[in-house]
Symmetry: C2
Subunit: 185 residues, 2 copies
């Protein structure tokens, strides 16, 4: 029998992963990593390759990914790359995509297209340290989803709610994450 | 007199921005945006260009930036791009870079190098909906900074603490952000 891959997702592997985690909870523990270096002005370059998960260091990635950051001119940058908070919107888009597509595949729902547009409000008073009352980060984020799929609207709504409740980045944004910062010698 | 640009930052423009915001608080309001589309399996592509800030829609960006997401093989992807939570680490790196470099420049401190390595823990039980007790997102993030600059260690420590307290992405992660999700017709 051919492997079933609705939406390009190997559902047998997905079910296998779920069963493996049920049998051996330790397999669910992942560590993701990044290294970055400043590149002058507002510019930086992040490289991403290694991670730990499913009980071992990953050995399948051959490519090191590079992501760049900069600021627009009005924020003293050179327009060379998206800025940090825009990268957050990308991360949420990427996560909400996977968190929608995988469960849809598991339920045998063929998705034809999935698009997100996002917008977030930010007030510079926090970043510029001009007010203690204004938070530096996003005050809120509005996500709009556009979906075409072989399913009624209520089913799509349900999948979207499910995605929002299981998406790692959505949870990372909606709920506090402890972050420690240490200066190395 | 030549423009002062320690660390590649136009300090006159920075001071001008601070004064402009003090005089006209509305200028501090920004709206950042993204558009994404699913690209099969775990893959998606985010495009970023327009934003609103300093009282108007930006007109200086000529390039549309593209960021891609995918999952590693163990998470049913094709290793084509970093995944969503790794993109979060990039966003934090980019933000902590700007949030360190700008105040250093304003204080006339020449930074020679700034590197961050980050690692975050994530347990798949949340994403796979196998436990209500395990959050889907990062359980914590560890940031290590390596800095060389014309300043004593205490000053660098102080700048790092300041960066962590004013960084928009750090605040976005450490504190809850309301996110609304709407299905469009």
């Amino acid at each position: 029998m051919a492997t079933k891959t609705p939406n390009g997702v190997n559902v047998e592997q997905l079910v296998g992963t779920i069963n493996a985690v049920k049998a051996t909870p330790e397999l669910a523990k992942f560590k993701f990593r990044s290294s970055s270096r400043w590149d002058g002005g507002a510019k930086e370059r992040t490289t991403i390759k290694s991670f730990y998960g499913a009980g071992q260091e990953d050995t399948t990635r051959t490519e090191t990914f590079t992501l760049e950051g900069d600021e627009p001119a009005v924020l003293l940058g050179t327009n060379a790359a998206p800025n940090a908070v825009e990268a957050v919107l990308h991360a949420l888009s990427s996560c909400m995509t996977v968190s929608f597509i995988y469960p849809a595949a598991a339920q045998g729902i063929n998705v034809k297209s999935l698009e997100y547009t996002m917008e977030g409000d930010l007030d510079l008073h926090g970043f510029l340290h001009l007010s203690d009352k204004v938070r530096p980060g996003f005050q809120n984020i509005r996500v709009k989803a556009k979906v075409t799929a072989d399913a009624p609207k209520e089913k799509i709504q349900e999948l979207l709610r499910y995605a929002a409740s299981t998406s790692p980045v959505m949870d990372t944004l909606r709920n506090p994450v402890p972050v420690t910062v240490e200066l190395q010698e």
